[in-house]
Amino acid sequence: MSLETLLASFATVMALVSALLVVWQRSAVVSALFLVLNLGSVAILFLTLGGEFLAAVQVIVYAGAIMVLFLFVIMLLNPAPPKQRFASGPVVTGLTFGLGVVFVAALVRGVMSLAGSGQEMSAVGPGYGSTRSIGELLFTDYLYPFELTGVLLLVAMVGAVVLARRQHHEEV
């Protein structure tokens, strides 16, 4: 077993365990922290796959910015821990079970199609996953989705500003 396989297995176990703990914890802050751990483990998985840029961006954007804001909001609101660990009732249970079955089926189907296709996996070329190659893809093949995502984020930002301003006016 090479060092990379060992690291990848370790990161996989970490990702799974921390993901479980995210839903299992009662304290919202501790949950959020396990989500950070989960994101970090996924970043390590990216690294073992040769995606240095993706790994770094995963840490900067998700762990460094989004989760910090999550924590910030949780601490400001300071919600009381729920009395029950999970919501229950026939509707919720049925829905959860149904969705779970669909999800697992989709996952199995996806893995099966990869394994049974007889298609040989081609080796990736040098520079695969590098900053340069990702940048080139984003600005050539995926230019329109990329720009549209930008517009979407802008709309969200303008919306947030409008909502915040309106409330401000009503108070005054």
């Binding site: 802050v29 240095e52 840029f53 770094a56 840490v59 762990a63 460094g64 910090v68 924590l71 910030f72």
Partner: protein, 356 residues
């Protein structure tokens, strides 16, 4: 089984880590002394001079004192997170040194007259996206501060933590935008490439450092790192007249010291980043010596440049008064971000036009 080649590689890595981290922690210890000595000097006092010759053993005495103090966890604290927080402050700051290059090329230990055929490389890890790793680690530094404030279960630390989160997130944007022009002209995120790019001179005397190409980027980065390290004039998270000591109010003994070690490590890391990105890192124009001397002189040059910025940090702290919190936010969002963005657009246009 481990063969000789693997053993050699592990040996080299361990040696590099030992040397670089020992240098870093010695630097952290002595920065506290520099801070006290320089502040004394600026205020016409003598400063610490009792322990050792000219007070040089003061950091050791301080460390020993804190090790022996009582370690208190307040009753309202969330115990596990309370213990974890100081570690989370220290680790990202120290880890950033893994990617910073301290010299141009490695040398063989045999050049020093040692019996081992090992190469001493000028960095712990040579990463293609080194600069992004640095930014990522810097963005993780917030966690320690936020969790320290929250887990203390007390109001002043919570206020300090909220302030610091808002501050660090605000200034991270300006910091990233200040660095981008350098990446545009260099075309690489690898720190060693960025430093190598700054070799040579213009007109035979002016070194080709990025500061002369990107004076504004350099200025914006300097302001941002003052806010990122929470130093005066931006030390609102621990403003003592308002918040006692901010997020680390409830900490005592060695945990308290770890916050300070984290702060000084972050200061050294950011000073090293300034030196690397804008002041040529280890570059000394026109230097040509046989190894290991080349390595030593370059490492010394890098340390000197880093120390210049560390001195600047101390100098500013004891010179300027503190900002108000709304002024801090206004400066970050309404001034610095826009100016850094305009700077980036201009540089991008010049690069696209082929001028730079």
């Amino acid at each position: 089984m481990m063969d000789a080649a693997m053993l050699k590689e592990i040996g080299e890595i361990v040696l590099r880590m030992l040397v670089i981290f020992t240098a870093l922690f010695t630097g952290v210890g002595y920065m506290t002394l520099v801070e006290r000595k320089v502040s004394a000097w600026m205020q016409d006092r003598i400063g610490p001079n009792r322990v050792g010759p000219a007070g040089l053993l003061q950091p050791l005495a301080d460390g020993l004192k804190h090790l022996m103090k009582e370690d208190i966890t307040p009753p309202g604290a969330h115990r596990a997170i309370f213990i974890m927080a100081p570690v989370l402050v220290l680790i990202p700051a120290v880890a950033s040194f893994a990617v910073i290059p301290i010299a141009g090329e490695g040398f063989n230990l045999q050049d020093l007259g040692l019996p081992w055929d090992w190469t001493f490389l000028p960095y712990i890890a040579d990463v293609e996206v080194g600069l992004l790793i640095l930014l990522g680690l810097a963005s993780l530094e917030v966690y320690g501060v936020v969790l320290a404030g929250w887990s203390s279960g007390s109001k002043y630390p919570a206020m300090g933590a909220l302030r610091s989160t808002a501050q660090m997130i605000s200034y991270e944007l300006a910091l990233g935008l200040a660095i981008l022009p350098v990446i545009l002209t260099t075309g690489s995120l690898r720190l060693q490439t960025i430093v190598e790019y700054q070799g040579g001179t213009w007109f035979g005397f002016l070194p080709q450092w990025n500061v002369f190409i990107h004076p504004f980027g350099c200025l914006f980065l300097l302001i941002s790192i003052f806010a990122e390290t929470k130093r005066l004039p931006f030390d609102l998270p621990e403003a003592e007249p308002e918040l006692v000591a901010g997020y680390h109010t409830e900490y005592s003994a060695m945990k308290f010291v770890m916050f300070y070690m984290g702060e000084y490590s972050a200061m050294i890391a950011n000073s090293a980043l300034m030196a690397t990105l804008f002041f040529g890192g280890w570059q000394v124009p026109g230097l040509d010596l046989p190894q290991p001397w080349m390595f030593l002189v370059q490492a010394l040059a890098f340390a000197t440049k880093t120390f210049f910025f560390l001195f600047l940090f101390v100098w500013v702290r004891w010179t300027l008064p503190r900002f108000r919190y709304d002024q801090l936010m206004d400066l970050g969002w309404k001034v610095l971000l826009e100016l850094a963005f305009i700077n980036l657009l201009i540089v991008a246009a010049l690069v696209a036009a082929g001028v730079m």
